[in-house]
């Protein structure tokens, strides 16, 4: 293990979770009224808003694709979002990379050929971060997109797995991320378990990689269910109101 913090004690992690446990996840839709669709996620201590604008005419014009919509994604962390010092405002290199790979996830799932010449803007704003923000951001953005009514071929979810010593763990928080021996954020299309985002650094054997992927896919059932419940919630609420 890197560093000298004991991340796992008697089989339990610092926050009491077992190796394969997710943090608590709560999602609420339609939190930004001006957006076409939006969602807010609390994933452990992460607090993230995702909002979708569009499809609208792609501008500047040269960015347009005459055959399909272009997805413009911006992931950004608020300068006050971490428990450490004030971050710099705006996009750093990490944010540029995360925006790119996140955009690619949604290019895959959105039925883009239904909206030629347009752009779909996807904004992911991290208000508070505690490790795993790109995964939480993707999970939240998927719900925002679905809430916007933009057609998709599946509802992706994302979560990371990693390694502490020789133990493969799911859903690393900030401190685990800092001292872990591997971190692997993955986004999956649950219908056929296609991998649409995969990043990793640290060290993993083939066996550990497979174990990590298994934890991710197993936990996906729970994450997908939370996403679907959040999407249904406003309709269930209004139906109950009508009944009452």
């Amino acid at each position: 293990m890197k560093g000298n913090i004991e991340l796992i004690k008697n089989g339990k992690r610092l926050d009491g979770r077992l190796a394969g446990d997710l943090r608590d996840i709560k999602i609420k839709t339609n939190v930004v009224k001006n957006a076409q669709g939006s969602a807010y996620i609390e994933w452990g201590n992460n607090k993230i808003i995702a909002a979708v604008h569009g499809p609208s005419e792609a501008l500047p014009r040269h960015t347009a694709n005459p055959n399909k919509a272009v997805v413009k994604c911006r992931y950004m962390m608020a300068p006050f979002s971490s428990s450490e010092e004030h971050g710099r405002s705006g996009m750093n290199r990490r944010a540029i990379e995360i925006s790119k790979v996140t955009g690619e996830v949604f290019e895959n799932v959105i039925l883009r050929d239904q909206f030629p010449g347009t752009e779909i803007n996807l904004y992911i704003e991290v208000l508070q971060s505690d490790g795993g923000t790109r995964a939480a951001g993707i999970t939240c953005a998927a719900v925002a997109l679905a809430a916007s009514g933009i057609p998709m071929r599946d509802l992706p979810y994302s979560v990371s797995a990693g390694k502490v010593g020789d133990t493969v763990i799911l859903d690393l928080n900030k401190i685990e991320d800092n001292y872990s021996d591997a971190d692997m954020p993955v986004a999956i299309l649950p219908r056929n378990n296609e991998i649409v985002l995969l990043q990793m650094d640290g060290s993993l054997t083939t066996k550990q990689y497979s174990d990590a992927m298994e934890l991710i896919i197993e936990s996906g059932k729970k994450i997908s269910a939370i996403q679907r419940t959040a999407l249904l919630e406003p309709y269930v609420a209004s139906e109950n109101k009508n009944k009452g």
Partner: protein, 258 residues
């Protein structure tokens, strides 16, 4: 790419044949020349077919990062020179340039090529290692060429001295490196998965994956482009990487006097 080229290439790829008659999992000819820029502490030019990447390394004395006061710094940046590809533009780093630099950086960091604790000088002073990747010509797969170039430049890099507040760059000492990391990049084109894609092949592809390893340990991975991979495909490509990386390591060793 012209439509006729596109159709021709797609037709051949679906039969497992490539534009330059390579098999799906073979690399183009690789050449590595080190110390091409003697003013830099370390440098290497890697040619992967027509792809050409130069890595230059400088070491400077600087302040440590606040959260790692006893470690030196590693900074990897990339320039996709506008001369190298008609699709590269002048201006600030593009997402693909940033991704390229960060993927190379992660492989080197995760494999522990440099022991940052050995880059400590005195309280408040550490060495910063700047790895700059210059893409001089792009014919696809800058990722593997960049990792090879950075690795070759690091392995042949001089270690400056810091004496009485001065940096002495003309030394005989070498920067200490541990391990060797290489990466293998694959793309998924209609009907096939291939290693070391050319620009044309990248244009036909809808998904890309880069896997960095040393021996049988995976050190970094990055999926790119909007296409998807199945878990089975990724497992196969990891195995192929473990196999193909032996060739890359041999070429690196031969050209860096190891």
């Amino acid at each position: 790419m012209q439509m006729i080229t596109k159709e021709y290439l797609t037709g051949r790829l679906s039969k497992g044949l490539r534009d330059d008659n390579r098999t799906p999992f073979s690399y183009r000819t690789i050449s590595i020349r080190t110390n091409e820029i003697p003013n830099a502490e370390g440098s290497a030019i890697v040619e992967l077919g027509n792809t050409k990447v130069l890595a230059g390394i400088k070491l400077d004395v600087s302040e440590p990062m606040r959260d790692t006061p006893e470690d030196g710094n590693i900074t990897t940046s990339a320039e996709l020179l506008p001369m190298a590809d008609e699709n590269y533009d002048i201006g600030p780093p593009t997402p693909i340039g940033v991704e390229f630099a960060r993927v190379v950086d992660r492989g080197i960091r995760a494999a522990g090529i440099l022991d940052t604790s050995k880059l400590f000088i005195e309280e408040g002073k550490v060495w910063s290692v700047f790895i700059d990747l210059y893409v001089l010509n792009n014919d696809g797969n800058i990722f593997d060429a960049g990792t090879l170039a950075a690795m070759a430049a690091l392995k042949t890099c001089r270690m400056p001295k810091y004496e009485n507040g001065l940096v002495i760059r003309e030394t005989q000492e070498r920067l200490t490196t541990n391990n060797i990391v290489t990466s293998c990049t694959f793309v998924k084109v209609p009907g096939a998965k291939i290693i070391d894609p050319t620009s044309n092949e990248e244009e036909l592809a809808d998904a890309r994956i880069t896997i960095a390893n040393d021996f049988d340990v995976i050190r970094a991975m990055q999926k790119g482009m909007s296409g998807a991979f199945t878990t089975k495909e990724v497992n196969e490509l990891i195995e192929t990487t473990f196999d193909k990386s032996k060739e890359l390591v041999n070429i690196l060793k031969k050209n860096t006097g190891d």
